[in-house]
């Protein structure tokens, strides 16, 4: 009843088989998620630290950022970046984004342009940054206050306390929740299909629409997501073991 060999048939576009479509979906899921993660981790770390700093004009904008980005649905944010952003920037930039920018480079194995990819990465990265920021803040706040005080008493400046005392400890503590954020960014990258990025979920749906082999197409995509999940969990466990501070038992194994 199931016909797995459907994946070996020639797909109607892109000069690939359906398996090729699926693999290009995997490629773009990984590329969107990874690029967005770089933004999310960098910006999220800065904002998360900013939220713990006892300086009002640093703390307040960071809090505003987090509240805005995590209280608007990701899908709505996707539309804001893709449809709304080019219209509210100065007209010359907007026109450039709509006409020239998409054709700057041709993306390999993709049936969409650079602009879709950029909007998806920006959206996902800035959204996830707010979630990463909360994890970083929670990690720093979970450390006993005595650590900061001890650092200050030793004559460290506040930036030094962060650099040598708080951050090395808290980043180790938050590896398990960061792992789930990292997994979430792979899953959330599927939202990009609404603006035309043909990532894994979109490709599996496209294959099902062309071949009517819905069960096979969805099963293949689901299995690939499971493999991605297991790989990430495995790698993060390795990282966690490698970075573990001897004698310090972190609670809540993942």
């Amino acid at each position: 009843m199931l016909e797995w060999k459907v994946f070996l048939e020639q797909a109607p576009s892109g000069g690939m088989t359906y398996l090729g479509w699926l693999m290009s979906g995997v490629l773009w899921t990984i590329l969107v998620a990874s690029a967005a993660w770089i933004i999310a981790f960098t910006l999220g770390s800065i904002i998360g630290v900013a939220r713990t700093v006892p300086v009002k004009w640093i703390k307040f904008p960071a809090t505003v950022y987090v509240e805005i980005f995590r209280n608007i649905p990701l899908l709505v944010q996707m539309f804001l970046w893709y449809f709304v952003m080019p219209e509210i920037v100065p007209e010359s930039i907007g026109n450039w984004l709509k006409t020239e920018y998409p054709n700057l480079i041709t993306l390999p194995f993709a049936q969409f342009s650079l602009w879709e990819f950029t909007a998806a990465v920006l959206c996902l990265g800035l959204y996830t940054a707010s979630r990463v920021a909360e994890q970083v803040r929670a990690g720093i706040e979970s450390l006993p206050k005595g650590q900061t005080n001890a650092g200050l008493a030793m004559g460290f400046t506040l930036p030094q306390v962060y650099k040598y005392v708080l951050l090395p400890m808290s980043y180790r503590l938050i590896i398990p929740p960061m792992t789930s954020e990292f997994l979430t960014i792979f899953k959330n990258s599927s939202t990009a299909l609404t603006i035309g990025v043909l990532e894994l979920t979109a490709q599996s749906r496209q294959i099902s629409e062309y071949t009517f082999k819905t069960f096979e197409a969805f099963t293949a995509a689901t299995l690939i997501y499971i493999v991605i999940t297991l790989t990430v969990i495995f790698l993060m466990r390795l990282l966690e073991n490698k970075l573990r501070v001897p004698g310090y038992v972190s609670q809540g194994g993942h």
Partner: protein, 248 residues
Amino acid sequence: MEGFDWGVIWANRAVLWDGMLLSLKLFVIALAGGIFFGTLLAMARLSSFKILSYPAAGFVNLIRSIPFIMAIFWFYFLTPMLVQKITGQQGEAVGPFTSAIVAFIMVEAAYYSEIIRAGIQSVPRGQPWAAYALGMNYWQAMGFVVLPQAFRNMIPIMLTQAIILFQDTSLVYVVGLKDFLGAASKAGQLSGRIIELYIFVAIVFLIICFGASKLVKVLQNSMDPTRQRAVKKDVTLNGPGLNTSGST
């Protein structure tokens, strides 16, 4: 920046309101169904019978490792087929809304089961033992002793998850349902004013979800006596030592 026409929102108020009602309906049904089946899933996962705990764990981990949209596609595809098999009727009986409801209940059940499992495990083991010692059976011990305490511990995190669920209802856009976002999108395409409508949708979600999260925080502070005391004395608690429940 110039050339915005905010009148388009007022002109489409009926459509937008219908969309919001559909979002809210989906939210309430998915929340109730998700918590109900999530509780059953959590109990199955914690069961000592492997025939219950393995499939429950498998289902939860499967749902949690695929994107929400993928899950919606799956149930959108499977629900009409299953209903057809069970009732023997042709597939027309199941509309897109029903399929979306099934998808949301199943996905939320998986997410809630993880929260509820942690909640059940936060109740000290002595509580069910004491209930059994009093002659209660499993369902009585769960229903009268363990779950009431577990839910009490879980209320803040369950409400936070509910806010996330409310945001996630916008994902039904992918199967073409006219929820709040879908309605705005449609109205935007018809009137050529998509920018104003998307900004409006974003602001409405922001107000609702931000307000709700503030309320959750107030509730959390008012119902947790240990936390209040800790804050007042400015004691920094290190570790979950005081996190036991049971003080009524």
